[in-house]
């Protein structure tokens, strides 16, 4: 992208931390935010894929740094933020996007899987936010976006811990919005419907279903298709930018109409 276009970007001069940035929604958001002029600190456990995305951004003229990190570790979260401040001097946007799914009823779910899903999907938001918010407070504001899910608003079959974790994300979002609104920090979440990501293929595999049939089933919603990670990234961009300056504590549903009601 030519420099002039970059200067006119909707996030020009902003610094964004994105977790789960090596693939899917996180990757699409890193690429979009960078294209809109933001500097990106990417966190993910997948070092190879993460570095590839960072290289892609740098090669197209953007600024990005990949931090191999596990956001369930307080120490790792501290290091990511320290690095962001050292390299870029500030953090304007935190996109808590890292997430995993286990498709099982409570009867079939191992305790270790419960703990792991809750740690990645929920505790990571707490750990990283408490590192980032003081910097946002000092800078006079910021915006935090959490990836929840349609299944954070309604239940789904064989998804007990995932639903529990995403429901927690929705209400953690609202609680943080209330606490930090007076400091001009906006906190919102996105509730995506099924998307064309590795997670959806992983779900089919966990349930022992054919992925073609699983995708066809997932497309049964008013718009008649699954979403693209780029479309979720656009929703994150709206919440990250000044266009949403009066939006906080809300859950933005991006699901092709999946939750509108029964078809």
């Amino acid at each position: 992208m030519p420099l002039q276009e970059k200067l006119a970007g909707r996030l020009s001069g902003k610094v964004a931390v994105i977790t789960g940035a090596a693939s899917g929604i996180g990757r699409a958001t890193a690429l979009l935010f960078s294209g809109e002029g933001a500097s990106i600190i990417m966190a993910d456990v997948d070092a190879d894929a993460g570095k590839r995305v960072a290289d892609e951004i740098i090669q197209s003229g953007g600024r990005a740094f990949f931090a191999a990190s596990d956001v369930t570790s307080a120490a790792d979260c501290g290091r990511v933020v320290e690095h962001a401040i050292r390299d870029f001097g500030r953090i304007d946007i935190l996109f808590n996007n890292a997430g995993i799914i286990r498709r099982a009823t409570v009867l079939d779910l191992a305790e270790a899987d419960w703990d792991r899903v809750m740690a990645v999907n929920v505790k990571s938001i707490y750990l990283l936010s408490r590192e980032v918010i003081p910097h946002m407070q000092k800078a006079g504001g910021g915006t935090i976006i959490n990836t929840a899910s349609g299944w954070g608003l309604t239940g789904g079959a064989k998804a007990a811990v995932y639903c529990a974790s995403k429901g927690a994300v929705v209400l953690l979002t609202k609680a943080m919005a209330i606490d930090h609104g007076p400091q001009n920090i906006r906190v919102n979440c996105i509730c995506p419907g099924d998307n064309d990501t590795g997670m959806l293929r992983d779900e089919a595999q966990q349930l022992g279903e054919d992925s073609g049939r699983f995708f066809a089933e997932s497309a049964k919603r008013p718009l008649g298709r699954v979403g693209k990670p780029e479309e979720i990234a656009q929703a994150a961009l709206y919440l990250a930018g000044d266009a949403s300056s009066f939006v906080t504590g809300t859950a933005l549903v991006v699901d092709g109409g999946g939750l509108a009601g029964s078809i």
């Binding site: 933005l252 699901d255 509108a260």
Partner: protein
């Protein structure tokens, strides 16, 4: 420009949120048709848009009347040949309990806020279905999601708008039409001081109550307009049947 070559029809476009949306859409390249009941205010808005190099017409319309809604859609098509975006924004509000609200006042609020949304959508959907694409955005309210004091007809109408939005999203998604609503919190429109007056509250006390939300202030019409732009543009291509809350955190607790 994010709405280049698009045609938008905006009801209640002569003041407040509708006026801000008309001006923003025009700046983003859309041709806009605005409706309203006040002719001089309507022409003032279109004149400003034309002066700034945009493209706009005013159509005097009472959205309670089917024939006038049909005419508004027909006139828009005659002037601009297509219709891509309908913003159902016209709305009225009287602060009343069920005991205070007269039948006439009930009908007025339900007919403008809810039936008007149905009628305008009914006529706008036909050309959108022929085109194979279109976007409808309805103006609901935070009080379409939670109750408020002295607002029975308004809450009923806005709750109706939220669910009408979802029902239409289900019916017309496969035809390439997205239907969403926005739920604004208190915003700097003429509706706010009017509400204070009708409630018999002085402006300072009333405003302090409105500002009591996480962001500590009321919204601006431009902030609502930007939410409508997001829903009108391709940036929200996977969104339908949803309620976008723009309220400074007012309904977070």
């Amino acid at each position: 420009m994010r709405l280049e070559n698009k045609v938008a029809l905006i009801t209640g476009g002569t003041s407040g949120i509708g006026e801000a949306v008309a001006e923003l859409f025009a700046r983003e390249g859309a041709k806009v048709a605005i409706t309203g009941r006040n002719e001089s205010r309507g022409h003032a808005v279109t004149a400003r848009i034309l002066e700034a190099g945009g493209c706009a017409i005013f159509l005097r319309t009472d959205v309670r009347k089917a024939a006038e809604c049909r005419r508004a859609v027909d006139e828009t098509l005659r002037s601009f040949t297509r219709l891509d975006i309908l913003f159902n924004n016209a709305g009225v509000f009287f602060p009343q309990t069920a005991l205070e609200c007269t039948e006439e006042e009930w009908d007025l609020q339900i007919d403008i806020n809810l039936k008007g949304t149905f009628l305008m959508s009914k006529y706008a959907l036909t050309p959108m279905i022929v085109q194979g694409s279109g976007v409808i955005i309805n103006n609901s309210s935070g009080w379409g999601l939670v109750g408020g004091d002295k607002a029975v007809a308004y809450c009923a109408s806005k709750g109706g708008v939220v669910l009408l939005t979802k029902a239409m999203a289900i019916d017309h998604g496969r035809q390439g039409i997205r239907v969403n609503c926005i739920c604004p919190g208190d915003v700097d429109t003429p509706m706010l001081p009017e509400d204070a007056r009708l409630r018999g509250l002085d402006w300072k006390t009333y405003l302090a109550g409105c500002e009591n939300r996480p962001l500590g202030r009321i919204g601006t019409v431009d902030e609502i307009a930007k939410a409508v732009l997001f829903l009108a543009s391709d940036d929200s291509s996977f969104m339908t049947g949803t309620a976008l809350v723009v309220d400074g955190g007012g309904t977070a607790d």
